[in-house]
């Protein structure tokens, strides 16, 4: 059995939330599964594993990407940010996180990390100029609890705070 229990693995080096991680994984391992199953960074959620729900959204070099459609090996040497990397060292929530909490922009919380990562990028991209624009540029993140109106309110509030 022993020689069969090993698949071909490769060493990869990931920079996540400013920390370096060395991993020995198969080339087919997604960034999402590397985060959740290998690095105990379970804040990034698996909702569909096929790029349809947005729950797995992380930032790679500041851009929002779906980590379920990204191989871990693809993002070697890039700056990866996950939900765990947003708050300050002392636990202070960033503007988007604080706005989500205040506006009750979540219920079950499972889509929330992806929503927040998308919202941070949405604001940075300059796509939070109006409620309609926010709705459009946040439409890739599904929320089955139906927190959408509150998500729009939170993004609007955070965008104003970031701008001021």
């Amino acid at each position: 059995m022993t020689d069969q229990t090993k698949s071909t693995t490769i060493p990869i080096h990931l920079t996540i939330n400013g920390h370096n991680h060395e991993l020995e994984v198969e080339p087919r391992v997604t960034l999402l599964d590397a985060l959740r199953d290998r690095l105990d960074l379970t804040g990034t959620k698996k909702g569909c594993d096929q790029g349809q729900c947005g729950a797995c959204t992380v930032h790679v070099d500041g851009q929002r990407v779906l980590s379920c459609l990204t191989l871990a090996a693809q993002v070697e040497g890039r700056e990866i940010t996950t939900i765990e990397g947003l708050a300050g060292e002392d636990g202070t929530l960033n503007a988007v996180q604080a706005a989500f909490l205040e506006q009750d922009a979540f219920q079950c919380g499972y889509c929330t990390p992806g929503q927040i990562m998308s919202a941070v990028a949405c604001i940075r991209e300059g796509h939070a100029g109006s409620d309609d624009e926010i709705r459009e540029y946040m439409a890739g993140n599904l929320c089955r609890c139906g927190a959408y109106p509150h998500i729009v309110a939170a993004v609007r509030q955070a965008a104003l705070e970031v701008a001021s």
Partner: protein
Amino acid sequence: MTIHDPRTRHGDASDGAMDQVGGRLSRVDGPAKMTGAAKYAVEQQLDGLTYGVLVESTIASGKVRSIDISAAEAAPGVLKVLTPDTIMSLRTASDWFGTPPPDKPYCPLARDITFSGQHVAAIIAETFEQAVAAAAMVKVSYDETPAITDLSDGKAGDGIPIDAMTKEWGDAQGAFAAAPVRICGAYNTPREYQAPMEPHGLIARWEGDKLTVWEPSQWLDGMARTYAEWFGVPFENVRLVSPYIGGGFGSKALALGHGAVAAAAAKMLGRPVRVVMTRPQTFTGYGGRAATRQTVTIGADTNGIIQSIVHRGVNETSIDGMWVEPLGVVTSIMYATPNFSSKQNVVRVNSVVPGAMRAPGENPSAFGIESAIDELSYEVGIDPLEIRLRNYAEQDPEAKKAWSTRQLREAFAAGAERFGWARRTPEPRSMRDGNQLIGWGVAAGTYPVRRAYGEAVVRILADGSVEVESSSIDMGQGTYTILAQTAAETVGVPADDVVVKLGDSRFPRAGVAGGSRLAGVMTGAVYKAATSALDQLIGLAISDPRSPFHTLQANTLVVANGRIGSPRGDGPDLSIAELLASVGRDHIEATGDTMPANSTAEDRYKNYTTIATSVPHTEGDYSRHSWCAHFIEVRVDEDFGTVRVSRVVSALDSGRLYNPKLAESQWKGGIIMGIGQALLEEGIVDRRHGRIVNNNLGDYLVPTNADIPDIDVISVGIPDLHSSVLGGKGVGELAIVGVAPAIANAVFHATGKRIRDLPITLEKLI
């Protein structure tokens, strides 16, 4: 599971009222969910964890002829390949009523196939990727037989009459025949899916004959019972852990086949096993809302006063399971009628057994009656809101009992006012904005107050903080938060000083978080436990010779904001921590439950592990329901038939709200799911193979942010002490009821086309 971080607390009131029941306290589990720190069930990192992947049938009817596992067994990392022949034997478990099961083995992997997507094999491997790869190597061959794919299948037949669903009074047929105005409509709803964002899954670990299951669950004790019965171990040997649940909507209340596979694999391997359904598997691994068909006929006089309602309904169920979606439940109570008849059949099709999805029964039932009364309003030329008021049921027409509270008239008034209903022009196609036809529709909704019993422990700790424990759960309703508020208000401490622990079956028990009952049940239990803990605290302060209050000879004391003093303000003033230190106690503990006095241990077990003991909503002198009225504007593109919901105003009566901020969120969520039901959601069956074609979130369309306008909700409820200890009624399911008919009614007003078949898609309008 510590869920408090005062630095991140936000709210809408600057005084202590926010901490009380009824205050708009932000979610206490919020910071953990904002930062990714909240660990959901399958995110536990366990030593030696292995990964399971399910293999499912690709036919809908027939038998497994053979399963070739040779390639899969030889694949890298594979530890076990489970088939019907190799999985350990389990025992059949009782159903959720606690009905004793037949004495026969249960195999969660099927040889006899009754639906496409049935579990037939499973791979357990060292890594998830290895399990996925090996699962693709399993070759299953079948002897296929013709399947009944859905309700429209010619082989489906009329089904089985469900006599328990029959409701009749007066002479409905005779009164209908004699009525001067008669309308009749056939209303259909398709298969719909709960589609919670967190897929179903679990980690199972055995230690000897003790099983721990980390699994998202709406009902820890009920699921623990099922696992215990499957494996023939005592109930106490099974521990369910479910600290956070990524949405359920009815789908996470029962232990399911994939759970049996995972737990069996863990036992056979002697290692913990994680099995998580793929998103496509969530469309067949458990049942969504059954497809339904209804006919509603109404006989009325020329003033629109209803003389008779005749209702017939059908829902689909599976070949070997029984699901009844009660279709006459709103039909029979929404409007006063002297004559009524409702009957229902179920039809067996080759599907997974359907299940509970947000307001099972009430939701499709309301689509029928609330569309039909709208049709009647146009038939007699009376405003759709006015006709609802003319037929207002002053008491429960079916139970012939007074409503406990029914603020539906107030809901109609408040909603109409906010929406501007008086500006509506009655003619279809009479309101437009360029090439957009505008329609305004109204519909009512209702949900019964389901009641049950719960228990909780409240501890006052040495540092003056308060701890609450219960095996109830929070899947987004706000249980953590409202129980913190209940304990804070009752004991007299800030909510920041309360830690609520939920989601572990070792805690004091709770029944199912379903039927919108949990908040009413658990606030009652926590209130009782906290009251008892407070009594102990005050008793100690008064009677213990070491207490500074001992010499005061007071009859009672007051606890507020974590401090204890005399009601008149004279004498000592101590923090709870100082008092406990003075009497040498490190904590006070009280258990509270809402069970009837003299309940036996057996009563309690039955209460928490079955639904057999829930209290009828018409028990005693009253009929108890939540109510709502939805006012919805749609814009329909005249050329393309695309429908957009542009405005929603809903007024809702859920009694007293324990936390309006969170209740409003749940209401809006229900309304949004209702928009999806009305315009988007439909499980499409491939007639050739009986498969769900759109078994993923790209093709089974749930609403996105871009589909949803601002939603205005208004609370018109008043405390209803017939419904719960603290006066609340139901919140979670109410708001979806009536949304789809309000949209269908608005679409009729916009276009003049009556769509009786959900969802309302463009090809039905052009």
